[in-house]
Structures are given as C-alpha cells and as structure tokens.
Amino acid sequence: MSRSNLFLVVGVIIAALAIFLNFDTENAQKSKVADLDNKLNIYNWSDYIAEDTISNFEAETGIQVTYDMYDSNEVLEAKMLAGSSGYDLVVPTADFLARGREAGAYQDMDISKIPNAKNQNPQIQAQADEMTGSTNAGLVYMWGSTGIAYNEDMIAERFGEDAPTDSWSLILDPVNAAKLEDCGIAVLDAPTDVLPNIMTYLGYDGTSMEEAHFEAAGEALTAIRPYLRYINSSQSINDIANGDICAAIMWSGDAFQAAYRAEEAENGNVIDYYIPNEGTNLWFDVMAIPADAKNIDNAYKFVDYMMRADVAAENVNYVWYASGNKAAEASIDPEILSHPGIYPTEKAKEKLFVTPVYDPETDRIVTRVWNRFLAGN
C-alpha cells in the first residue's frame, strides 16, 4: 500500500468517525431517560415553560427531573405509538390525545389525586374533555388559537389605513396576498389547524368533515400559493421577528414570542397577532400520563405543582399563551390578560370552534388535499 493510499484510508476512517460523532452530538441532546424512584421524565413542547419552573420543582420535592422537548405533535405521537418511550408526563394537544387514548397509549388520570385541580377553568377543561371524550384524560396546561401574525409597518406600507387586519382575507384573498408577496407570507405546515379555518373563511362550518369542503379549502390555498414564501411551522417565528416575512398564519403563542424577540433585538419590527373575525379553531394542550409510565406518583406531584396558581401564572407570563388555570389569572400580566389575541373577547368567543377528531379516512383526505396544495396542483 502506497503512502497516499494509506492516507486515503485514514482519511475515510476519520470521515466515518466524524459522521459517527455527528450522530452522537445529536443524540446527546436527547438526554438519557432513567427510571429510578425519585425520577420524573417529562416530554413537553419547546419554549413552553418558565425558565425556573423545573429547578424550583426539583428543589421543593427532591425529585430529579429529566426534561425533553419536541416541536410537533406528530413527533410525540410517533413515540407514544411505538411504545416504551420512558416518559412519565407528556403534553399532547387534545385531538392527538384522543387518538392516542383510542390506541391505548395513555392511561386515565385520577383527578382527585391533584388537589390543585380546583384552580382549573371549568369551561376550558370541559371543552378539552369533550374532545378527548373523557374527564380523566388529563388537565389542560395551556390553550390558544390559530390566527394571523403581521408586521405592523410593512402591512401599513402596502395597505394604508384600511388593512384587513381583522380577517383571514389579509392572506387568503389573492389580491391582498399579491400585495404581500414581496415582503413574504408564510403558512403553518399543520393541515388540521389551517384547512378548517379556511373553511370558515369560505362560509362553511369549520368542524365539517365533508371531502368537498376540504377540497374547496385546498383550492382557496392553491389560489394564493404563488405568493407564499414557504409552508413551515417553526421557521416563521424567527423570520417574522427579523422582518424576513411580513404576514403568517401562526399559533397565538408563537406570534407573541416573535413579537417579543423583535422587541428584544430592537430591530424596529413591531409584530401583532389577531383572531380573524370569521372565527378560528381553538386547541388545548393537555398534561397526560402515558400508559407505560413508571413514575406515576411523581407525575401526579408535578401536575399538582403546575396547577398551583402562582406557578401557572409565571408560566403564562413567560410563554404568553392562555392558561387552563382560572386561579392564576389574578397574577397574570394585565397586558396578556387584556390582549384579545390571547384571551379572546366574549364576542370573538362565539365564532371559535374546536376541530373534531378525524377518523383515518378523513385524515387521508386532509393529507391528500394538503399535499396537493404543497405540490401546487
């Protein structure tokens, strides 16, 4: 073997090692899940809890928490359906929880073991329970809406005084979308949060499961597709804060996070969010226990801790989502409590709806319509 060949072999081995190490750094982020007595393994959404909540809980109870994060319900669901995830407490959105319960991936919770459950907002909890079909599925952590986030100056520049910043038409009317093409429009890559809202914009019932209604919504989206910058659920927070896009269909809390980031960066971008007056869907993220959880008692302790009014208020003040906790409202920042995009007005509430849990056939229709929109035909 000549020297250069030897060197090549060494090079390839180094490359292989480097690839291997790459995988390893990615895996290192998912910290190891243990199942000892004083442990608790939590899997929650990213950016969804105040910075010191976990450390405060650990200091108070002596329980060692492993806290992992996901950024989509789909990722959580795949782990739950594969089984043996090792997690003791997860926070799926109610429709995903309903499906997971049907598959046997979650256990019933004994709400009487959670004294602080008395703090819960009964109205919100009842809406979530209706989706999951059980009063024992879990307790609502936070809830929110899907609406439109926009850059105030960029919209004013293009629409003047009468910008339709109270309606879905800001993005869904092709005439308006064309005006926004140059500054950038983004849409969530979440068909079950987008298609039902477009159905309400078109005058159909958002809870409809009729194929023709989904198709009509898909066509309305296809009509504005040439003007869209991208369809993605996690990129728009940064991009709208930086001014790379100017309007986006977004989840309420994401929009406020973007507004906060723009304010922090002092880049001159002012971001606001509204619930369109045609109506929108509400979602509820529920604290639930997987069927094969090992540290069940600790999970109950944690849920009880999270349901304390002061803890719940701190979390809301940090993440800017509406809380399922009624008692917390006394300590929530008035700016959050009075914002109609977070805590909707009574009038807006009349038009809010809850997306039904689709059966597998409807799932396929929704995905097919969505994929055709993505493909542009």
């Binding site: 090549l8 180094i14 490359a15 480097a18 690839i19 989509s72 359906l81 049907e102 910058r229 069927a291």
Partner: protein, 296 residues
C-alpha cells in the same frame, strides 16, 4: 497466536463488517418490508405485523393494500418522486463539477500538501450538518449576509430571494456531499500515471485532448463511485429541503414523513420507502449486470 491470525485474520476482517451490515442494515430493511405488507390500525404499534412469530407459532399474512393505495393515487406521488430525482441529479452534477478540479489539483500537488488538502476537505464533517445548514440560512436569507453585501455594493436594491429555491437546495446539497465526491475522484486520479500524460504531451496532444482521451476515461470509476455516494443519500434527503426549500422543492423524504406522522400510516410510509429503494437500486444492479456481460 501468530498462526491464528494468519489462518483466521482474513475471515475476521471479512465477517465482522458483514455481521454489522446484517444486523444494522438488513434487519431494519426486512422489518420495513414486513411493515409495508402489514395492515394499519390504531394501536401500539400502529400496524398489525404481516409476519409474526411468538408462542402461537409463526404466521405470515401479507396485505398488498398499501402498495395498491400508492398505485391508485400515483399522481400524488409521481411529482415529488420526479422532483427528488431532478434535485438529486443536479446536486450530483454540481458536486462533480466542483469536485473534479479540486480532486485533480489535490492529486497533482506534492505529497505533504496533499495531506493538508485532504484534511481540509474532510474538515466540514467535524461540525454537525444541521449547524452548517443553519449557517447557510444565515448567508442566504433576504436579510442575510450575502444580500447585505450585495445591497451595500449597489448590485441590487431589493434583496435577491435565494432561500426556498432550487438554488438553496443545491447549495445545501453541495456543501453536505462534496467530500463524498472528492475522495473517490482523488483516489482514482492519484493513481493515474503521470508519464502517460507526459508521453501524450510529447507526441503533441493538446491539453483538452489529453483530458478527453486519457484523464477522463481513466477516472470513470471514481466518477461513478462519487456520483453514487452523492446521489443515493441526496434522493432521499429530508433535512436539507425541510430547512432550505420551499413548496416547490417537495421531495419524497417529506412525503414519507407525511404518511408516517400525519396519516399515522406506517405501512404506506414503508411501502413508499421500499419503492424508492427499488427505483434507486434496480438501475445500479442492471448496470453491473451489463458490465459483467461486457467483460465476458
């Protein structure tokens, strides 16, 4: 001991990687084939395995519904498939165009410089590919580094849209896969006997003729190996189009993701993956078969 290695060393060297491949490549592949012939259901796991063995004995009840569904809605899968092949093909081509001069230059430089250059080629592998993609986003964004410079230099007034285009995909693919093209090219070019080129030049061949009739034909094994190393992962790429691409850059990786996560249909997702593997592997097998025919 010495005798042992002389006798079995060769066997160990051959069988160890083979066992590794069997365990971590063949078994998952077989499981994927199994899932692709299984029936989807709402349970843990979300499919009813076609092949089962346990206390009740062995049972094998394959269903072809998953493949039939893809056949029925083939129009929905064709466009992303064509798109994947198109983007992977041009990514491979651009890799080749960039890699060839670099590999040639490395192969022709003196030995000590070669070592340094090869390390430089491999260097990008030392940072996570995800980080490199985010760095690229920072460069290509409308408010990113490149547009800032172009606007400052007066080349353009409004930012050039580079993200969410074919260009951003190619940039990401070339950045990720270029070393996989350079290394095999280098390996075949470094073996090229310099005296042949000198002889051709002495006999009056022009530079282009030397390249066309001597260098290029002799480097074909390297071109094939490098192209396969780039094309195969590129065609199934998920991360790069997800981060850098827009709706126009929909690839099969995302379609499989959708079936898996959104329809919760693991069997159909597996079936698409199997079909994709078949589409990639069959031409290679065919080419090799042709090769052998040609030799005999």
């Amino acid at each position: 001991m010495n005798y042992f290695f002389q006798r079995f060393g060769r066997q160990i060297v051959i069988w160890l990687p083979l066992a590794w491949l069997l365990l971590f490549f063949m078994l998952p592949l077989i499981e994927m084939i199994n899932v692709s012939f299984s029936e989807a259901r709402r349970a843990v796991p979300p499919y009813n395995p076609a092949f089962q063995f346990g206390p009740g004995g062995i049972s094998f009840q394959p269903v072809v519904d998953n493949y039939y569904l893809i056949y029925e809605y083939w129009e929905d899968y064709l466009w992303p498939a064509v798109n994947s092949i198109r983007l992977a093909f041009f990514s491979t081509l651009y890799c080749l165009l960039f890699a060839y001069p670099m590999a040639w230059w490395i192969a022709r430089s003196n030995k000590s410089l070669q070592h340094i250059l090869l390390i430089l080629v491999l260097m990008p592998f030392w940072t996570s590919s995800l980080l490199r993609m985010y760095a690229l986003i920072g460069l290509l964004n409308p408010n990113g580094f490149i547009n800032d410079i172009l606007i400052w230099a007066g080349v353009t007034v409004i930012p050039i849209q580079m993200m969410q285009t074919d260009f951003s995909i190619y940039a990401g693919m070339v950045l990720t896969y270029l070393p996989l093209m350079i290394l095999p090219l280098y390996a075949s070019l470094v073996r090229l006997d310099g005296s042949i080129i000198e002889a051709a030049a002495d006999l009056g061949a022009r530079k282009w003729d030397i390249f066309k009739t001597i260098i290029l034909p002799l480097s074909i094994p390297g071109i094939i190996a490098g192209s396969l190393l780039v094309f195969i992962p590129a065609v199934g790429e998920f991360v790069i189009p997800a981060l850098l691409g827009g709706p126009e850059q929909l690839m099969l990786g995302k379609v499989i993701w959708t079936e898996f996560f959104r329809n919760r249909d693991w069997p159909v997702a597996s079936a698409i993956a199997i079909i994709l593997i078949a589409i990639i592997i069959l031409p290679i097998v065919y080419a090799r078969y042709q090769d052998k025919e040609g030799i005999s």
